[in-house]
């Protein structure tokens, strides 16, 4: 009996170790390589002990100024897309939570079906239109695109979270003479905060990391950080891996920290999003 428990324990330890290696090692390699002296990055055999250097970060700063413009663009676009998606989803989620009936059910169904359309499909007509109205290569176009591809999930998530707030609270506020907007602002938003954070986490991670739309709709002014990194990766005169790793670390660190801090909301959001929408 004792033996079999030992074996189970050892088996679990091996499985956990394998999972940790699988999940974290690729990330660790990026960070570690960004600190390696240039000649050690592709050394055979792989170098694990070295004197850390910040030379690649310094070169990134001096040679790829546009990467830092990209970070700034990413920040602005992520903030805008998140604000837009959160406000729109919370308002709609409130309505869908408090009203049912054929019209509302059908319109929720419609939101879910829309998620099936692959994003690349809409780039075909939007590309010439965005060009024609002069929105190409602006922050606004990416904010709107990112928010739109998350408002359907956001609405369904917010409906699930708002469903848990007792209707009596709305009614009490209504008796006190509060209108819809006041109830939403004073009653729903404070109590639905975990849902709002969950939606925000999804949009932040998506907008910060997105590649396809940024690739198609930006050229110079609104270029995001992932796009600049992809240009480093596709550089014709050879990839400077030290700089590439430094840039990757800088792009990854904030969003990784964010996911670690927000992991509870992320798990709650994923669970609610998958079962309800």
């Amino acid at each position: 009996m004792r033996n079999s428990r030992l074996i189970t324990g050892a088996g679990k330890a091996v499985a956990v170790a394998a999972l940790l290696v699988w999940s974290l090692l690729p990330i660790a390699f990026i960070v570690m390589s960004s600190l390696k002296p240039g000649r050690d990055i592709f050394a055979v055999p792989t170098v694990y002990v070295f004197t850390p250097t910040f030379q690649h970060y310094a070169s990134l700063w001096t040679r790829w100024g546009q990467f830092f413009d990209g970070l700034l663009n990413s920040t602005v676009i992520t903030a805008g897309a998140t604000a837009l998606a959160v406000v729109a989803s919370t308002c709609a989620g409130y309505v869908y939570s408090r009203n049912s009936g054929r019209f509302h059910d059908a319109s929720v169904m419609f939101l879910i079906v829309v998620r099936l359309i692959p994003p690349i499909v809409v780039t075909l007509p939007l590309f010439p239109i965005v060009n024609a109205i002069g929105l190409n290569d602006t922050h606004v176009v990416l904010m709107v695109l990112y928010a739109t591809f998350f408002v359907s999930l956001g609405t369904v998530l917010m409906r699930t979270f708002i469903d848990q707030i007792p209707r009596e609270l709305d009614e009490a506020a209504e008796i006190d003479g509060a209108g819809r907007f006041t109830i939403l602002r004073r009653v729903i938003v404070p109590l639905a905060a975990p849902g709002i954070i969950a939606v925000a986490v999804f949009v932040v991670v998506f907008a910060w990391n997105e590649f396809l739309f940024a690739f198609i709709f930006t050229a110079t002014n609104a270029k995001t950080a992932p796009l600049v990194i992809s240009e480093m990766l596709g550089s014709m005169d050879g990839v400077d891996w030290g700089i590439l790793f430094a840039a990757s670390t800088v792009q990854l660190a904030p969003v990784l920290l964010f996911v670690v801090l927000m992991n509870r909301y992320l798990v709650a959001g994923l669970t609610a999003g998958a079962t309800k929408g």
């Binding site: 940790l20 792989t46 075909l124």
Partner: protein, 291 residues
Amino acid sequence: MRSRNIAQTLPLIAPVHILILSVIVIPSLFVIWLSITKSTYGQAPTFVGLENYFQVLSDPAFRSALWNTVVIVVFAVHIELAVGLLMALLFASGLPFRRFLLVAVLAPYAVSEVIAVVMWRYLFDPDAGPVTLALKGLGLPILDWAYEPSHAMILIGLLTIWLHLPFTFIILYAARLAIPADLYEAARIDGATPLQAFRRVTLPLLGPAIVVALLFRYIFAFRIFSEVWLLTGGGPARSTEVVAVYLYQEAFSYNAFGTAAATAWIMVVASLLLAAGYVLLLRRQVTANAQ
């Protein structure tokens, strides 16, 4: 009362619907029009019926892209499901430092496709990648992904699994946690072995979560673009193209908007077919919620 109700709720749902209609629905419908016309920049479109669809479906490059996409979807999604399920069982069996391990396993969710490509290109660099060297050290074959299309496909598959395993795992783990412990207690008292308990209790009760995870991942894996585009660009010689890369090439490299639009609608229809079962499940749930 009723009209007042609508007047008050409409402004609240309007932003979501305006965004979705103007950015997704109307453009997608316009793609149907594009798909039955022939046009390039600076030319008036002419109506050609279903010609674009025939042209796409008979294009060997499209067929190869479709085949590659199906291979990635089938392999990556099912491996993800199997591993995600094992992980869910492992976590549910009780682990020390559970919260820390959960966060560690979740980490790849934060990684963008671009960074993931940087990572995996480095790890599997044919000359000096750490994984390549480790494989060589163990006497195992290495992935010559820059020249060998099938090896490139394996690398794309690994990358996709790495990026999306956290999602599949969380769905299954949440569902596993929702199974009441009494059921396992009852199974144990009835003399069920752990394997029997898994087959007769865990698996049936995880059924809906498995269906949801699978369909989500089928639909999202079918759109795969960035991983392929950034890793191989579809090459060598278009051999690793997937449907979304084929679409991009038609539209933005060859300016063939008609065939690109036809490809787009083939993608939409394929996604709808994949989702048909899912939508039926959901409709049942929505009506159940309403009651």
